[in-house]
Symmetry: C2
Subunit: 331 residues, 2 copies
């Protein structure tokens, strides 16, 4: 039998979810020996559908699926029918990688090998499916500024939910003091033109919406393996283009609305619309690039999403707004 | 051979992703006939691992997996070794349901039957896995107020991304006019006490954060099948408790910060903190209950998340704030 080594096993590693006792045979074994072995020991999991061919030192040579066993003649040697496992994992790999590989190559199970190519376990697609679900839930929770929880919502006590939510709420509330500080700094300007206050929510919300659109797109791309750090220039350029298009449409609609439906003069309408253009483009860039930077720094991009992006975008949008007001309205 | 009917096939239905040509045999067939049939026709997909036993009218009687075929003697009749398929799907079922069932019962494939229990197709776990991933991505995109796209981000052109984002941005920007209207309505009060303006971003942000925390939790619970419409009272009560706990901590910290670090008097600090309490509880309730209501009305809960919740929470938080200011500060 195989001897099992201890691995440097984290909860996110392949080692933590792999099956440790695959059916292994030598390359000289025959089909009917493999069938007999499966009959005696069984496959570790009902959804498992391969036995594995290993050399004397347990290094992985190939795999044979149940269908091949079923359709081959009993006397055939495994080495003549085995398939080369073109994807293998290491015990210390991330489970998310396992799930991505199985989905990309449409595999039902993947062998796990150590640094000397010795077979140490098997990961199955149903495990990978559960991992993907859990990762997606965690990403959503982090994007909404919560500490991920393993427990279903209705089964969690109020205190537990409270503890997952309150640290982020406190952090975000205190960071909003920065935004408040910007407003206080321009208090005299505001007192001269109180009408400006009415546009603060619209500017902050629109900036926030743009930031969350670009950040969610990039965060999801990062977790599906579609976006990498080296793509940052492409993300930058794409968000500049998308931001400029959105900014122009939003500013035009906003300007028209203010001219037609409100009593503010053309100068205020122009100030608000100009601020909108700058805010939207900056928000798209911040939302698109901060998650990539986070990934590069080894921080979970989803954690970065809400707290930092909201704060940065809010502060930027107000600075742009008030500074434009000071310039354009001469207040 | 089976004759295939046309189904009322939507892109989200099981019919759209099922394999239509399973290997079917009669209950009197023997193991070696089944093996011969698989040898001749093959299973439709490499990850498929069952043949199916049907009556003369094609109604589903049982299923036999490759392992059973491999380990049974050739002369045994299928009816003696077949397993009863304890989960079946209908062609018009939602793909998300298929994925949930396969994950819950750890199945690698599920047969699809029509209203007369006739076998019409098979759904495999790798299809379900892709569906789950796509649904999670779509939920995230909708929560961030975007029209879901099938294409990876880096492969999508700027115009296409722009078109997925701009309708929501416009809608949200115009709905923020409502919030602006509330501010204009209280313009005189604000002119008398411009310092109040500095706390608008903090109140709106905190309300928005609470709303997105509770809504993401409930939306994810709904898509994983953990939360149902009938649970709305439990969600209500849980969010009241969690909201009250968060509100008290946030208000206390905010009050202390204002007393220690800013020049505003105790009356303003009390007004801001009181508004914070009411806003946080209302935001948690709106975020928790609107997605459930959306699901009940047949609207995607994730679509409901950003647009409506942001607008409702913003408007509520400002109304509470200004009304408290008018009462408590007598302005």
């Amino acid at each position: 039998m195989m001897t099992m080594k201890k691995f440097n096993q984290t909860t996110d590693s392949v080692a933590a979810v792999m099956w440790r006792e695959p059916v292994v045979l030598s390359p000289q074994s025959r089909i009917n020996e493999a069938v007999e072995r499966i009959r005696q020991t069984g496959l570790p999991d009902q959804n498992m559908s391969h036995c594995y061919v290993v050399a004397e030192d347990f290094s992985l040579l190939g795999q044979v699926d149940l269908r091949t066993l079923l359709l081959s003649r009993g006397g055939v040697r495994l080495e003549t029918v085995m398939a080369h496992p073109f994807v293998t994992l290491r015990p210390e790999d991330d489970q998310e990688l396992a799930a991505q590989l199985m989905e990309a190559y449409d595999l039902s199970e993947v062998p796990v090998v150590d640094e000397a190519n010795r077979l140490v376990g098997i990961v199955t697609a149903d495990t990978a499916m559960a991992v993907l679900q859990e990762e997606a839930t965690e990403d959503m929770e982090r994007m909404a500024a919560m500490t991920p929880s393993e427990e279903p919502y209705l089964q969690s006590g109020a205190i537990r939910i409270f503890r997952a939510r309150i640290p982020w709420l406190l952090l975000l509330m205190l960071s909003a003091a920065l935004t408040g500080g910007i407003i206080s700094h321009f208090e005299q300007a505001l007192a001269a033109q109180v009408a400006l206050t009415a546009f603060i929510p619209m500017l902050m919300d629109t900036g926030g919406n743009c930031g969350s659109q670009s950040s969610v797109t990039v965060i999801r791309g990062l977790s599906l393996g579609e976006v990498r750090f080296s793509d940052w220039m492409r993300v930058f350029w794409k968000e500049v283009q998308v931001g400029a298009l959105c900014a122009l449409v939003l500013a035009a609609v906003n300007f028209l609305r203010l001219m037609v439906m409100s009593q503010v003069g053309i100068a205020v309408a122009a100030t608000v619309s100009f601020s909108l253009v700058v805010t939207v483009i900056l928000a798209d860039l911040v939302g698109g690039l901060l998650p990539i930077l986070a990934k590069r720094l080894g921080v979970d991009p989803a954690v970065m999403a809400s707290p930092l992006i909201t704060t940065v975008v809010d502060a930027l949008s107000l600075l742009v707004y008030f500074q434009s007001a000071v310039w354009l309205l001469k207040i």
